[in-house]
Amino acid sequence: MPTTAPTAHALSDVTASDSTLRRFLHGLPGVDAVGLEARAASLGTRSIKTTAKAYAIDLAISMVDLTTLEGADTPGKVRALGAKAVHPDPTDRTTPATAAVCVYPDMVAAAKEAVAGSSVKVASVATAFPAGRAALDVKLADVRDAVAAGADEIDMVIDRGAFLAGKYLKVYDEIVAVKQACGDSARLKVIFETGELSTYDNIRRASWLGMIAGADFIKTSTGKVAVNATPANTLLMLEAVRDFRAQTGVQIGVKPAGGIRTSKDAIKFLVLVNETAGEDWLDNHWFRFGASSLLNDLLMQRQKLATGRYSGPDYVTVD
């Protein structure tokens, strides 16, 4: 597996100044929006059945970042979520654990305790999530807090205001600074909030900007705005990580988040991954789903495959 260690790769010179960075990002080929959406839609029509479906469901469960990002989060709720992440279906111990739980920084310690001794990681959003409207010092303090509390992964938001204003170097510097604050212990996911970037061209530029700045993961959205992960914007980001690895040899993960609620949707995304980035990404080290209600639907589908009966919401937890 290729490493994600930040290396002085072929693209280091593009960040020399604001103008070189702008020239590079605006020099990326434009996105054919109609073609992109048609491609995403056509890949969504694949029929995945029986054993392939069972494989896909287990894979999808293992890729879930089980998320709770509410103002009303309590340590108790986080503990419950952690227990669910470790054993998603207590009635069937063959169910894989999820990849991680994703919480606010002040809940990291509680989450860490809840998943102790398991393979489940603790991800924390940081940098004044979800708006990202705070001074850099505040954002970095937020990150350091989460890392100190034991977060294995940091989900940062980019400064969309700066990005849309064309201050790419500012966005870049911020990601670099956050990456530094993460140190060696935490992997960095960079959230673009694609629903606020307006165009596919912008999503492509943001993807490259994030990857050059040293992101370990690029993530679509916070789940807090109207438009979240869609097959089309995820496909675009998968193309970006594929091209980035071809160019630099560095593999970067992708995480669609928000709005993925059914197994059917999740399996469509897995098809996108396989057909675009390739099998190397079909692993929870490289692909994640940011979701909460998705897990219940995956579990119900899993129960259906095991028993032959349609399951219902009475047989999964209410979270």
């Binding site: 129960q303 032959g308 009966r309 349609y310 219902g312 919401p313 009475d314 047989y315």
Partner: protein, 301 residues
């Protein structure tokens, strides 16, 4: 062209595409299948969608989604909605008389009597919505200083295997009591004569019944009833239209999540029904509340 030939030229027939009714929408079967529906003499009437188990699954999801709103609506409001169904049926009486006559091989006057009885049945059950609680609920005398009150509550999502022979009056007689008490329903229409049921769906869609409260599937009864009987998110099943062998099989499948089961029984659908079908899909909630008579003041309330 002369005026005369214009008059005699036959008009092209406009055939109706019968569709399912799921979640307030009229989809085709997910499977894309249809089957031929004939009248009692074997003459082709229309193609009806032949639903698959996935349509049944979608219908349960729709029914579950609608349950909160429908069971939470006031009984008075449900009564008004059901009465509205009768009003809408009255306006399309001719169509239903024709469909029932074709489906069941009845003369026009007999079919009209069936349709009238079905419309009256809606009104009858509409009246029951806000009265059933008084009849089967109430205060229970208990050996202690408590108010002890029982009140009926809807069971949940009910799968209804509609009667095979009485395709309209029978259907209304089993469906109306289920939704009158606040349950939501997934109906499997009569296999041989599904058209009145599919047309009834059009009436329901235009009479303030929220989408998903009634979902109508047509197709092979055995194929659709099996997954519904085994479905973990269906709370009860009415086996009115299942034959003996099928009913037994379904009852076994239904035992797994302890569904309420209403066994098939001989019914004269023209007779006044009684409250049996209303109470079949109700649960009784009982609450205890201290009367306060232990207080120092000596007041019993």
């Amino acid at each position: 062209m002369s005026e005369k030939t214009e008059k005699t030229e036959p008009r092209l027939s406009v055939f109706k595409t019968y569709k399912l009714y799921v979640g307030g929408k009229f989809p085709r079967s997910e499977s894309g299948r249809v089957y031929e529906v004939t009248d009692s003499k074997g003459k082709w009437l229309a193609n009806a969608p032949q639903s698959s188990r996935k349509d049944a699954r979608d219908a349960v999801v729709a029914a579950r989604k609608a349950f909160g709103g429908w069971s939470g609506a006031t009984a008075y409001n449900r009564g008004q909605v059901l009465y509205r169904v009768a009003e809408m049926l009255e306006g399309r009486r001719e169509q239903f008389v024709r469909e029932v006559a074709d489906a069941e091989g009845l003369s026009k006057s007999k079919a009209a009597a069936v349709v009238d009885a079905a419309i009256d049945r809606w009104v009858w059950y509409a009246g029951w919505t806000d009265k059933i609680a008084q009849v089967i609920g109430g205060a229970n005398p208990v050996a202690g200083p408590f108010f002890n009150l029982s009140s009926p509550e809807p069971t949940g999502v009910v799968a209804v295997v509609a009667p095979q022979e009485s395709s309209f009056l029978g259907l209304v007689s089993v469906l109306a009591p289920v939704i009158a008490t606040g349950n939501t329903a997934v109906v499997i229409a009569s296999e041989k004569a599904p058209l009145p049921a599919l047309s009834l769906a059009e009436v329901l869609a235009t009479s303030d019944v929220p989408g998903g409260v009634v979902n109508v599937l047509s197709g092979r009864t055995a194929e659709l009833a099996a997954p519904l009987a085994a479905h973990q998110d269906v709370n009860a099943i009415d086996l009115a239209g299942a034959d003996e062998a099928l009913a037994k099989e379904l009852e076994i499948a239904a035992a797994d999540n302890l569904k309420r089961v209403l066994r098939p029984q001989p019914v004269d659908y023209f007779g006044t029904p009684g409250t049996e079908r209303l109470t079949a899909f109700l649960e009784t909630k009982t609450v205890w509340h201290p009367t306060g008579s232990l207080g120092a003041s000596g007041s019993s309330y």
